[in-house]
Symmetry: C2
Subunit: 340 residues, 2 copies
C-alpha cells in the first residue's frame, strides 16, 4: 500500500531542498516563479497533503478546534455547531466534536483526550456537575477556551442567552393572557442557566402578584416531559399554564396533555424554550422563546478567534436575547379554569 508522501518525497521529485518545498506550500519566503511551479507540480503528482501535527509541533500553532457538547443529538445544538463550523472552517480551522452526554466523568476523559491530541482551542458546554478539578485541568494546559450556554465563573470567555429576561417575557405573556397559576417545568440540577430562568419566572410571579411559584423538575426529553406533566397536574390541578425549560420538555408536555384528552393552548397553555425545528411543526404548533442558533454559533466562533489572537485580554461575556414566538399552545384561561 502507498506510503504517505512527505516534504522530502516532494523535494526529491522536484529536485529542490525541503525548506524550499515548505515555503512554496505555505506561500511564505522568496521563491522564484519557476521553482514554485516545479514544486507545485511535484506535490500535485504525489497527492501531497502536509502533516498538520508535525507542523503544529514545530510552529506551536494549532488549527484544530474541539467542540465539547452535552448532547449532540439535540437539534438546537446541531444548528449551533453548523454555525460554528462554517465560520471557523473559513478561517482554516478544523472543528471536531465530542459528546459528553452530560456525564462529568466522560467529559473529563474527553477533555483529556483533546489535550493529549492537541487542540488549539476549545468550545465547551460544561456538563451539569463538572467538578472544580476539570476546570483546573484545562487551565494548566493554557488552551483558549470559550464556554457556551453554561458559564463557569470568570475563568473563560462566555457566550450564552439572557435567560432571566427571556423567562420574564414568557411568564408575562402568560400573565397577560389572564393566567394566575403558572408553573415552571423542566431541568433537574440547579445549574446557573436554570437558576437564571427560574429567577425571571419568579420575578414576574411576584411582581404581578400571581400564585405561588411552582418549580417542577424533569429531564430534557419528550418522554420525561410527558410523564412530568402528568405528575404535575396531579399535584397541582389549579395550574393553567406552564413555562418550560426547553422545547423538548414542552413538546413532551403537549403530548401528555393530548394523551389525557386535553388540548394544549385551550385547556392548558405551554410555552417552550429554544424554538427547535419541531416546535413549528408540532400540532398544535408550540409557542416558545426563540433563540437563533446560527447567531449563537457565529458569536461563539468570533469570541474564540479573538481569544486565540489575544490570549491575555480579560475574559468577556456575550449574551443574545430570546424572542417570543406566539403560536398555538398559549391562549386565555379556560372557562372552567381557576381565574381565582
Amino acid at each position: 500500500m502507498a506510503v504517505r508522501p512527505t516534504l522530502e518525497t516532494v523535494a526529491q521529485e522536484a529536485g529542490v531542498s525541503i525548506p524550499t518545498v515548505s515555503q512554496v506550500i505555505r506561500g511564505t519566503g522568496r521563491i522564484s516563479e519557476k521553482t514554485r511551479e516545479k514544486v507545485l507540480k511535484a506535490a500535485k503528482k504525489l497527492h501531497y497533503i502536509p502533516d498538520g501535527r508535525a507542523a503544529a509541533m514545530r510552529s506551536g500553532e494549532n488549527r484544530e478546534i474541539g467542540f465539547v457538547i452535552n448532547q449532540i443529538a439535540n437539534p438546537f445544538n446541531a444548528e449551533v455547531m453548523s454555525g460554528v463550523v462554517e465560520l471557523l472552517e473559513a478561517e482554516g480551522y478544523l472543528v471536531s466534536i465530542l459528546d459528553t452526554g452530560d456525564d462529568a466523568a466522560r467529559q473529563e476523559r474527553h477533555l483529556e483526550a483533546f489535550i493529549r491530541n492537541g487542540r488549539g482551542g476549545l468550545l465547551w458546554v460544561p456538563a451539569q456537575d463538572t467538578p472544580e478539578r476539570t476546570f483546573d485541568l484545562l487551565r494548566v494546559q493554557a488552551i483558549p477556551t470559550v464556554t457556551f450556554m453554561r458559564p463557569a465563573g470568570e475563568r473563560y470567555d462566555h457566550v450564552g442567552v439572557r435567560n432571566a429576561v427571556a423567562t420574564e417575557t414568557a411568564t408575562s405573556h402568560l400573565a397577560d393572557l389572564g393566567h394566575h397559576h403558572i408553573a415552571y417545568l423542566g431541568g433537574t440540577v440547579m445549574t446557573l442557566v436554570r437558576q437564571r430562568r427560574i429567577l425571571g419566572y419568579e420575578r414576574v410571579m411576584k411582581a404581578r402578584n400571581l400564585g405561588a411559584p411552582i418549580v417542577w423538575p424533569s429531564i430534557d426529553t419528550k418522554l420525561a416531559g410527558l410523564e412530568a406533566l402528568r405528575d404535575l397536574r396531579q399535584s397541582h390541578p389549579e395550574v393553567t399554564a406552564i413555562v418550560c425549560n426547553g422545547d423538548m420538555v414542552a413538546l413532551g408536555a403537549c403530548l401528555g396533555l393530548q394523551k389525557a384528552g386535553l388540548v394544549p393552548g385551550r385547556d392548558l397553555s405551554v410555552i417552550g424554550f429554544d424554538d427547535i425545528a419541531d416546535a413549528a411543526l408540532a400540532t398544535p404548533a408550540l409557542t416558545t422563546m426563540a433563540i437563533s442558533p446560527q447567531k449563537l454559533g457565529r458569536k461563539l466562533a468570533q469570541v474564540l478567534l479573538a481569544r486565540i489572537r489575544e490570549p491575555d485580554m480579560p475574559t468577556t461575556v456575550s449574551e443574545v436575547s430570546a424572542r417570543l414566538v406566539i403560536r398555538d399552545t398559549t391562549g386565555p384561561v379556560p372557562a372552567g379554569g381557576t381565574g381565582d
Copy 2:
C-alpha cells in the same frame, strides 16, 4: 500563563532521563519500583499529559479516529455515534466527529482536514454525490476506512442494513393488511441504499400482483415529508399505504395527513424506517422498520479495529437486519378505499 509540561520537564523534576519517564508513563521496559514511583509523583505534580501528536509522529501509531457523517442532528445517527464512541474509547481511541451535511465539496474539505491533522482510522457515511476523486484521495493516504450505511464498492469495509429484505417485510405487511396501491416515499438521489430499498418494495409489488409501483421523492426532513405527502395524494389519490425511506419523512407524512383532517393508520397507512425515539412517541405511534443503532455502532467499531490490526485482509461487508415494529400508523384498507 503556565507552559505545557513535557517529558523533559518531568524528567528534571524526577531526576531521571527522558526515556525513563517515557517508559514509566507507557508501562513498558524494565523500571524499578522506586524510580517508577518517583516519576509518577513528578508527573502528577506537574499535571503532565503526553503529547499524542508527537508520539504518533514517532511511533506511527495514531489513536485518533474520525467519524465523517452526513447529518449529525439525525437522532438515529447520534445513537450510532454513541455506540461507536463507547467501544472505541474503551480501546483508548478518541473519536471526533464531522458533519458534511451531505455536501460533497464540504465532505472533501473535511476529509482532507482529517488527513492533514492525522487520523488513524475513518468511519464514513459518504455524501450522496461523492465523486471518484474523493475516494482516490483517501486511498492514496492509506487510512483504514469503514463505510457506513452507504457502501462504496469493494474499496472499503462496510457496515450497513439488509435494505431490500427490510422493505420486502414492510411492503408485505401492508399487503397482508389488504392494501393494493402502495407508494414508496422519500429520498431524492438514487443512492445504492435507496435503490436496494426500492428493489425490495418493487419485488413484493410484483410478486403479489399489486398496483404499479409509485416512487415519490422527498428529502429527509419532517417538513419535506409533509409537503411530499400532499403532492403525492394529489397525483395518486388511489394510494392507501406508503412505505417510507426514513422515519423523519414518515412522521412528516403523518403530520401532513393530520393537517388534511385524516388519521394515519385508518385513512392511510404509513410505515417508517429506522425507529428513531420520536417514532414511538408520536401520536399516532409510528409503525416502522427498526434497526438497532447501538448494534450498528458496535459493529462499526469492531470492523474498524479489525482493519487497523490487519490492514491487508480482504474487505468485508457486515449487514444487520431490520425488524418490523407494528404500532398505530398501519391498519386495514379504509372502507371507502380502493380495494380494487
